[in-house]
């Protein structure tokens, strides 16, 4: 089985689900879903911490959520990240058709959107730190905000590094049964990051605006 896995897959060939065609692929697929279950608990703990520390009593210095957040920027970031999830779906659609070129193209678009999101987030943090006196160490609200949103940002960064590594590594040899599961779980990770962002947008930004 082993070296056959490296044979290049071309459009029109079987299998339709190259990510689950080998035992290794099936294991990766299931193991990654379990990992995402653990990640869910990780973010749930961070959300719990944030919800305990976003009240006025934790906001001992600097502006509170209602004054601080501007929904325009965050809305644009949300649209960009959600779109990147859609483009990664297209990439996996082409992977299932064994069309490597189109898959790489859509993954490239995904990465571009992810980078834009990350850039905007860095800009957002920069504004808070430089002009709003809302920092990691200013008060407990600041610590909780940067821990939750920063953990998500760190996940985005890791996801981008991961997808780019995969794209560069396989750019010459194309899709095969060995790398198809890798692409697939990277896209799962990307969707997970998106889902977490939807909760951050709701809990941190929307509720923060309303709560003020």
């Amino acid at each position: 089985m082993s070296s056959d896995q490296l044979q290049r897959l071309k459009p029109g060939q079987s299998p339709h689900e190259p990510e689950k065609a080998t035992l290794e692929g099936k294991n990766k697929f299931l193991g990654f879903w379990f990992f995402l279950g653990g990640e869910t608990v990780l973010f749930a703990s961070l959300f719990g911490t944030y919800l305990a520390l976003n009240g006025p009593e934790s906001n001992t210095s600097g502006p509170g959520p209602a004054e601080l957040f501007g929904l325009e920027l965050v809305f644009i970031m949300t649209v960009i990240l959600l779109t990147s999830s859609l483009t990664s779906v297209y990439a996996i659609y082409h992977m299932k058709n064994l069309d490597f070129g189109k898959m790489q193209l859509w993954l490239g678009i995904t990465v571009a959107l992810g980078l834009t999101f990350l850039g905007l987030e860095i800009y957002e943090f920069y504004e808070y730190i430089m002009h709003e006196e809302h920092t990691f160490t200013s008060d407990a609200f600041g610590s909780a905000f940067y821990a939750l949103v920063g953990f998500h940002g760190g996940h985005v960064l890791f996801g981008l590094l991961w997808i780019v590594t995969l794209m560069v590594r396989n750019s010459k040899r194309g899709l095969n049964l060995y790398n198809a599961p890798k692409y697939y779980i990277a896209s799962l990770y990307w969707h997970f990051i998106d889902v977490v962002w939807v909760f951050i947008f709701t809990v941190v930004y929307l509720m923060g605006k309303l709560g003020g």
Partner: protein, 619 residues
């Protein structure tokens, strides 16, 4: 495989083999050795604690050192001794019990071990660099966030690294059990040990991330100026208590559930009976695992969550006694009418049942929230959790090591020395901890450095210390047994206990590919079915063919070493920002090795059919 081949290979080659191995049986040995060494360290700390408390107003150790000893004893025993020893047993037995050639992710198996190992070493380095952590194994804020020196920093970094290893191990076993079972091995035919390993892995998966977050917050507070637990800056230290116990309560089930499964297998084997109420046992394990997540606040009854929260958590806690009771009765009913052989594993098992039940009674007493105000933070609590952890987990580890020693090393531990180790340990255990219930009820608080004379606490503490020495004697006899057995090196057959499950259908120690042909499972206790209805051998489910095996790898070691180095950098950047360079360098080593792992193809290799026929790997 055996010591004979190892000697032939030379020390350097053997060392390299173990540093790079991805074989679950060798990783089990690594877990056993590392966990055993940490168990001795934790035991030594316990002895120092008991010597300090042997007589009133003692000055054997200083107050500061005493705080370090109790902290390190608890932390070491839970995270660095009990967990890896459980992982040693799961690694040796689970793949063999389900008829698999290895775990689902051999590379991650190795990574999990090395992360645990480097985390444990990092934690213990603190002894030599100015003082170990001293805020108790629970590290409650603000005691932990304001503890001077770097002790608690080591606690945070050490547990973070070893916790990541445990999480990886848990995911690995989940996928192994779901995807790698032999044909015919349905879920309801799995041996109880495999079932409990499965439920424990689920608990690891959902409990450890809470600890990860708690440790991150603690790290940010102590090392990077955050304010999560500082009320003056708007923080709230109850968050730590919640996060710690959302992890910490499932953790005790993580430890004890595999032991329940192991005892089920042992009782069934040495009573020559099918396990009584198999499906009820499976149901009880799953229910305990589920309820285990609903009870964390019973550690916080006196925190002030209010009567409603306390009542809910009290009732949920008491409810766990029901499935546990099911298990106790089923074990007794399995033995009832069986033809019982009192081997060493069976002796530990029979001793476990009443010991653990006593611990359970203490647990139900503590679950009564109103009464807990009286027991809280007294020696009653200390007595309770040692009854369940020593009377459950430690007894179980001893039983499991005697039971599966042939699968680890191909030899049998001496039955005579095994029983000789059992008696002082068993008597010493009850002597040490039973009387602590009464010391607690009389008002002796836990974690106090010394107690005053003539308060009716003198005799009880002395008895407790004598018991601790008896336990130490038992442990030493066990070690002698290990040495004597290894020196003798008498080989045993594949099935020395007349076993019932798949691990006994292959040689001891198994060849590195475990099963030459994957076995066909025809029911619960598959080997026993073949012994009774077949020719005593497993029927193969596939023709003899090439076997695919994973490659060894040194990357897991390097990856974990990177985090170990980064740990020092993060700890000491508090004093001098230049240390951040070390932290970043360590992280780059880890990320770099992840990158190498990602871009380098690792396809494994094949053992060819012809070599198998010649007996490759089976010596």
């Amino acid at each position: 495989m055996s010591t004979a081949t190892a000697q032939k290979k030379g020390f350097g080659a053997t060392l390299w083999d173990y540093l790079t191995t991805v074989d679950h049986k060798k990783i089990a040995i690594l877990y056993l050795v590392a966990g055993g060494i940490f168990f001795l360290a934790g035991g030594l700390e316990a002895m120092l604690i008991r010597i300090q408390l042997a007589v009133p107003d003692n000055d054997f150790v200083s107050a500061g050192l005493y705080n370090q000893l109790i902290t390190m004893h608890g932390t070491t025993m839970i995270f660095l001794a009990a967990m890896p020893l459980i992982f040693a047993l799961m690694n040796i037995a689970v793949p063999l019990q389900i008829g698999a050639r290895d775990v689902a992710f051999p590379f991650l198996n190795s990574l999990g071990f090395w992360l645990f190992f480097f985390g444990g070493v990092l934690l213990n380095v603190s002894w030599f660099t100015g003082g170990a952590p001293d805020a108790g194994w629970t590290a409650y804020a603000p005691l932990s966030t304001t503890s001077p020196g770097h002790g608690v920093d080591y606690y945070v970094m050490g547990l973070q690294i070893s916790g990541a290893g445990t999480l990886i191990g848990g995911i690995n076993f989940l996928v192994t059990i779901v995807n790698m079972r032999a044909p015919g091995m349905t879920y309801m035919r799995m041996p109880l040990f495999t079932w409990t390993a499965f439920v424990t892995s689920v608990l690891i998966l959902f409990a450890f991330p809470a600890l990860t977050v708690g440790l991150f917050l603690m790290m940010f507070d102590r090392m990077f100026g955050a304010n999560f637990f500082d009320p003056q800056m708007g923080g709230n230290h109850v968050i730590w208590e919640h996060l710690f116990w959302i992890f910490g309560h499932p953790e005790v089930y993580i430890l004890v559930l595999p032991i329940f499964g192991l005892f089920s297998d042992i009782i069934s084997t040495f009573s020559k009976k099918r396990l009584f109420g198999y499906s009820a046992m499976v149901f009880a394990v799953v229910l305990i695992g589920f309820l285990g997540f609903m009870v964390w606040a019973h550690h916080m009854f006196t925190t002030g969550l209010g009567p409603v929260a306390n009542s809910i958590f009290a009732i949920a806690t008491m409810a766990i006694a029901v499935p546990t009771g099911i298990k106790i009765f089923n074990w007794i009913f399995t033995m009832w009418g069986g033809s019982i052989r009192m081997t060493t594993p069976m002796l530990w098992t029979v001793a476990f049942i009443p010991s653990f039940t006593l611990g359970g009674f203490g647990g139900v007493m503590l679950a009564a929230a109103a009464a807990d105000y009286q027991y809280h933070d007294t020696y009653f609590v200390v007595a309770h959790f040692h009854y369940v952890i020593v009377g459950g987990v430690v007894f179980g580890v001893f039983a499991g090591l005697h039971y599966w020693w042939p699968k680890f090393f191909g030899t049998m531990l001496s039955e005579k020395l095994g029983k000789l180790a059992f008696w002082p340990f068993f008597v010493g255990f009850h002597l040490t901890f039973f009387i602590q219930h009464f010391l607690g009820l009389m008002g002796m608080p836990r974690r106090y450095w010394k107690f005053l004379p003539n308060q009716d606490l003198d005799l009880g503490n002395l008895v407790s210390t004598i018991g601790a020495f008896l336990m130490a004697i038992g442990a030493v006899i066990f070690l002698i047994n290990v040495i004597v057995t290894s020196v003798k090196g008498e080989k045993v057959s594949g099935d020395p206990w007349d076993g019932r499950t798949l691990e006994w259908s292959i040689p001891s120690p198994p060849p590195f590919y475990n099963f030459t042909q994957t076995p066909l499972v025809r029911g619960l206790d598959p080997l026993w079915i073949e012994k009774r209805q077949g020719n005593g051998k497993m029927t193969p489910a596939e023709p003899l063919g090439d076997i695919h095996m994973p490659n060894n790898s040194f990357i897991p070691f390097v990856m974990s070493l990177g985090l170990f180095i980064a740990g020092f950098g993060f700890i000491y950047q508090v004093d001098d920002k230049n240390w951040l360079i070390v932290g970043i360098a360590g992280m780059l080593i880890t990320l770099g090795s992840m990158f190498v792992r990602s871009v380098k193809d690792d396809l494994g290799y094949h053992i060819h059919k012809e070599d198998l026929e010649k007996g490759a790997g089976s010596e």
